[in-house]
Amino acid sequence: MPVFSYLAYPKRGAKEQLLKDLASLDYCEATPADNEEILILVTDTPDEDQEKALQKKLKELNSLESLGMTFGHVDQ
């Protein structure tokens, strides 16, 4: 049951769109900064297969420039 957190950087001017895109994905909780072009993303998937699937979907988001991981936890 992996839990990760990231700083999510939107493409230029796409912060709102990125927030919507992330909100539409399962296992994602996004919190936008009020005064910077950045979001916090916390992911909480039930297993490694779902985690891999989510990673794939994140990479496909047009509104996302990059992700910087800040925390990771995987139950053994």
Binding site: E29, T31, V42, T70
Partner: protein, 772 residues
């Protein structure tokens, strides 16, 4: 609502991301956090000041059930405006270390044995009474802390000074802030800064004097960076003895040779005159000139005594004194180019620039600590840049309540909550409020901290109670003082939360409640008093330090003076304490106001805080009708001091060719007894190290991570070399952080101190380096 393990992990994930974001984007805020909290399992958020440094950040602690599970910056606190540093974000984890002390321990046959708390308290009281009977009242002592809650310090002063009648009361703030206190008193007649953190938003120039703010006061440094980013023209000048993260972020880094800040400060003042940058209107109305004794010694011998004597001089005498400090002359002593000295002077001298100077341990842990504080005030006073938004000298505090508990309550040998023991009126006031005979209060100070531990070694002190501090890591020339504490016939009581080297020398260990496990108050660097309620329960038999002292005092027969109820004692003690400060110069906020707000600055008069003292626009104690009123001094003026450059107590020589500089790092709080038990902070910096200049390392064949031996005339320690790490000392200097009890660098340092403040110099002694 209880929290699941899963939601706890998610909260930690969220905190980590927020901490990373705050580091990258100073001032960033996440208004939508609350909804995410609810998604993460739900919790209540309660305010408290941070437990670590003297910045006094307001925190909101997330509580689920009876457990603190998360932290975020309090957006309502003007100190940090929602920001936190990495220690703050992980602060609640200090509550839950696996080896937390939750039971009283008494040494029996050499071993600390779990003992009922009542029995341990009985033993403490009995032992203290027996020691007084056998060896006199001055054979017992208490050593406290700038991490004491205000009420802890207040009841210790009442017990020791008011009831027992000894002035054997000191606190570790002597090791970190005493020079700031004597600097304020000698220059202004009253302790603590005239300005506040709002200066950060107004200043055009920041000059950090031997002060690695990026690591020691990271939230304030983030605010400085944010100001620079917003305004564009703001400059940060780092004036230091080694290159640090502060230097790297500064617009200009200027390095000086240890101790020569004295000469450079005088050279700046010389240049202010030479360029006619003096604010004559201010100087003529608000400043007077004075000189004191010179060649004042270093206090390395037992029973060292020194008393300064002020002599008033005129402006011409001051100008003649400065002739010895031309930039060219000072360049030779300090290594700072004459051009850089002129540049620094031009910043202070420019009438269109608001200048704020910051310092902390670099200037205070200095054998001429009082003098260098005086000299930086001189730089501001000559140009009238003081007591106004953005203009001011500002001494930062190292601990959360060094100001609130030690300086304001007066938990030092010569102090009372108001005034000093030598003053009859101050003794009368204390006796009346404490309900003790005035004869109880001894008019003679006894031992400052270094001398107190020397007295323990000599046997003049036989009983010492240590609360909320770890002197068996922090005392300079440590071998002597640890041996002293372990001698036959000494009895040491330690109130603690985790095992430490100080716990190792204890005869009794009392389990202390920590931070938000009890109600209390801190007082930060900018005269801000901050209240916290009890947010989580105390574990096991833990008890607040305040209540431990009350229990012992009652056992010693002082029930009348310590009659408070356990339900309301913190409020009742606060109400008694603030009677000492009931004047517009120092009035403290009422209990209910403090409970409701994220801190309030004194003087607190008619419901209003005072942001800038000595300026009638902001300070109700300042006489109206003039632009400034330095009411702390009898002549109503700020004092400019003629203080010369004098060398350090010990300098490198052929046998010990390196300067040793010691200090702190971002991730660890002081001796690491709390932060080394927070896994993420421990993993970030798991052990101490010695920073070596790359040229020195290359010359000696030392590579990064290689074990080296650092030795002085007093001791040695072996540790890993750090080359081109986060800090870089100049050629001929090494730097060692003191957070790691596995490497006791204070066995190497020297117990020399400023003869006026009695604060030791941890920044300068001579060592040699050897490959192991």
């Amino acid at each position: 609502m209880s929290i699941t393990r899963r939601s706890f992990i998610k909260t930690m994930a969220l905190n980590s991301a927020a901490a990373a974001a705050a580091t990258l984007f100073p001032g960033i805020s996440f208004g939508a956090w609350k909804s995410l909290d609810q998604a993460s399992g739900g919790m209540q958020w309660k305010k408290t000041p941070c437990r670590f440094c003297g910045t006094g950040c307001g925190l909101l602690v997330g509580v689920s059930g009876e457990r603190a599970v998360a932290v975020k910056g309090d957006p309502n606190c003007t100190v940090n405006k929602g920001l936190c540093c990495v220690k703050g974000y992980h602060s609640v984890q200090i509550l839950y270390g696996e080896d937390r002390i939750t039971k009283a321990l008494v040494r029996k046959n050499g071993q600390l044995v779990e003992t009922p708390l009542k029995e341990a308290l009985d033993l403490v009281a009995t032992k203290m009474q027996e020691t007084i009977k056998s060896h006199g009242k001055d054979s017992v002592a208490m050593y406290g802390s700038g991490q004491w809650s205000i009420t802890d310090g207040y009841v210790s002063s009442k017990l020791f000074k008011g009831c027992i009648g000894t002035n054997n009361l000191e606190a570790n703030a002597r090791l970190c802030m005493a020079s700031a206190v004597t600097g304020f008193l000698t220059s202004f007649g009253l302790d603590e800064p005239m300005g506040c953190y709002d200066d950060i938003d107004h200043a055009d120039v920041f000059i950090t004097w031997g002060n690695n703010m990026a690591e020691m006061h990271p939230v304030l440094f983030s605010r400085m960076l944010a100001n620079r980013k917003t305004k564009g023209h703001v400059k940060i000048i780092d004036f230091a003895t080694r290159t640090t993260r502060t230097s790297q972020a500064a617009d200009k880094s200027i390095l000086f040779r240890p101790q020569t800040d004295l000469a450079v400060a005088n050279a700046i003042c010389y240049e202010l005159f030479r360029n006619e940058w003096i604010n004559w209107d201010f100087v003529n109305k608000h400043v007077s000139f004075h000189k004191g004794k010179t060649n004042i010694g270093y206090g390395t011998e037992d029973h060292f005594k020194f008393a300064d004597k002020a002599e008033t001089v005129d402006l011409e005498a001051y100008k003649a004194f400065l002739e010895d400090y031309t930039p060219e002359k000072v360049e030779k002593v300090s290594g700072v180019s004459a051009e850089d000295i002129r540049y620094l002077a031009s910043l202070y001298g420019d009438p269109d620039k608001k200048v704020t100077s910051y310092w902390c341990m670099g200037m205070n842990q200095h054998t001429r600590g009082t003098w260098i504080n005086n000299l930086v005030y001189n730089c501001h006073l000559l140009v009238g840049k003081i007591s106004q938004p953005g203009n001011g000298p500002f001494s930062l505090t190292g601990q959360p309540s060094a100001c609130g508990t030690v300086r304001e309550v007066g938990t030092l040998t010569h102090k009372l909550p108001h005034g000093v023991v030598m003053n009859e009126e101050a003794r009368k006031m204390a006796a009346e409020i404490w309900d003790v005979p005035v004869e109880n209060i001894d008019p003679k100070p006894t031992y400052h901290t270094v001398e107190m531990f020397r007295a323990l070694d000599r046997g003049d002190i036989r009983f010492m109670w240590i609360q909320v501090t770890n002197p068996m890591v922090t005392m300079p020339n440590l071998n002597r003082y640890r041996n002293g504490a372990e001698k036959e016939g000494r009895f040491v009581v330690v109130s603690e939360i985790y095992p430490t080297p100080t716990y190792d020398v204890a005869d009794v260990v009392l389990p202390s409640a920590l931070w938000i496990e009890r109600e209390g108050f801190f007082g930060n660097s900018e005269r801000r008093t901050q209240h916290n309620e009890q947010i989580v329960p105390m574990p096991g038999d833990c008890m607040s330090n305040t209540w431990q002292i009350i229990e012992v005092a009652r056992r010693m027969g002082y029930e009348k003076q310590f009659s408070w109820s356990e339900d309301t004692y913190i409020e009742d003690i606060w109400n008694e304490y603030i009677r000492f400060h009931d004047s517009p110069k120092h009035r403290m906020a009422p209990y209910n106001d403090l409970k409701a707000q994220s801190g309030l600055q004194w003087p607190y008069v008619d419901g209003m805080e005072t942001k800038w003292r000595y300026n009638p626009k902001y300070d109700p104690a300042a006489a109206s009708g003039d632009d400034f009123d330095f009411y702390g001094k009898p002549d109503k003026r700020a004092w400019i001091w003629l203080r010369p450059y004098e060398p350090a107590a010990e300098s490198p020589d052929s046998e010990y060719p390196f300067w040793l500089n010691t200090g702190r790092i971002l991730e660890h709080w002081h001796t690491g007894s709390m932060t080394r038990r927070v896994p993420i902070l421990h993993r970030a910096v798991p052990e101490s190290y010695v920073e070596i200049n790359p040229d020195d390392a290359a010359r000696m064949g030392i590579t990064n991570g290689m074990k080296v031996k650092v030795s002085s005339r007093r001791g040695s320690v072996m540790m890993k070399a750090s080359i081109n790490g986060r800090g870089k000392p100049p050629v001929g200097m090494v730097f060692v952080p003191f957070f790691d009890e596995s490497y006791l660098i204070n066995e190497v340092t020297l117990d020399a101190f400023c003869p006026i403040s009695k604060q030791p110099d941890y920044k300068k002694c001579a060592v040699k380096l050897e490959r192991v």
